[in-house]
Amino acid sequence: MTALIARELRLAAGGGAAFLPLVFFLLVATLFPFAVGPDGPLLARTGGGALWMAALLAALLPVDRLVEPDLASGTLDQLALRGISEEVIALAKLAGHWLSFGPLLMLAAFPAAALMGLPEPVLWRLELGLLVGTPGLAALTLGVAAITASLRRSGALAGLLILPLAVPLLIFGAGLVERGTENGALQLLAAASLLLVAGAPFAAGAAIRAGRE
């Protein structure tokens, strides 16, 4: 299992793609104030939601390289021959994917929040939300990556599959940033994230098995 997770991290870091989600996240954080204008209160009010959207899209970036290359190269077959179940492979991929972008995004949220002029309590709610929500984003990306792995030019389909399922995370994540922890947004975010994390390995495992021809 550790060897599999290490392999995922190695693949994520390879080819200069390691910092792509991070760069993307910071890019949005930099550009958003330019688009909205130098209106401090407005930025502080909308910034959290914008950062959540950036986090969502950053998590989606590697959707085409999470499962498809391993399916095409026969790696998934070789793992299956060694008696490693598809669910375990999916779990390792989930852990590897989250480790490759989740902690980085939480770090990047500090400069991003500064760019948006978010007040400190809001920043901490954003960090808390990212900690709870990014595993859900990783799980969603993995599930869709596995489902679309055996299809050609599946980028558009992946987007269509992910976006509706990501809406709860986005609503509760942004709600947590905006309105604080009293209204149950954190609990609902955690519930949505947990559901995705618990279900994704099974969905992805079944999709990998079904994708074999």
Partner: protein
């Protein structure tokens, strides 16, 4: 890790193979014990690769039963990380198998390529790498799909030597090929 005396390493009974909604073969029986080997031949598209994938358990048999010991598969897909060196990429699998990758690389004559990235290897060298992974592992059953494709004469001789040694150790081999390969006393199976 050889199979116990008389125990079957691969047992296929009444197996039917489908691909793309088309029946490839049916009523296929095969059993391999320690030291035995079978060579599957037949025209392109007849279902040799599907047969091997069914034996490996990667494809479900449409009918019939398949029972097998631990198996190693070498087919047309390399399953090595292209950016890593050959030695490191093979070591990943060797660690999963609980063995060292070096004997396999030496047996296939690619030990000197250990520091070369996988993506720089030639077709023949890639084939040797895939076979080195099989040679290194302890699985008693080898499933080889066109193992001689892309190999030169020297590579073919190394493969034949490796297969002979595996059978002496009590292993079994199921092999699909179009190339002439020396596999003494093997059962010949023709799919038609």
């Amino acid at each position: 890790m050889t199979g116990g005396g008389g125990e079957k390493l691969l047992e296929m009974k009444g197996v039917a193979g489908w691909r793309g909604g088309r029946l490839l073969f049916e009523g296929f029986d095969l059993s391999l014990g320690p030291g035995e080997a079978a060579m599957v031949t037949g025209p392109n598209g007849i279902g040799k690769s599907s047969l091997l994938r069914i034996a490996a358990g990667l494809l479900p048999a449409r009918a019939g039963t398949v029972a097998r010991a631990d198996a190693a598969l070498a087919d047309e897909s390399l399953a090595l990380e292209p950016r890593r060196t050959l030695g490191a990429a093979l070591a990943f699998w060797a660690r999963l198998d609980g063995v060292s990758a070096v004997p396999g690389m030496e047996a296939m004559g690619i030990a000197h390529l250990a520091e070369v990235p996988v993506r720089m290897l030639s077709t023949g060298q890639r084939k040797r790498a895939a076979l080195a992974r099989v040679l290194a592992c302890n699985a008693p059953l080898w499933l080889l799909d066109e193992p001689a494709n892309g190999l030169d004469t020297e590579g073919r001789e190394r493969l034949e030597k490796g297969m002979a040694a595996h059978r002496i150790r009590g292993g079994a081999i199921l092999l699909a090929t179009h190339q002439p390969l020396a596999l003494p006393d093997c059962a010949r199976v023709t799919l038609a």
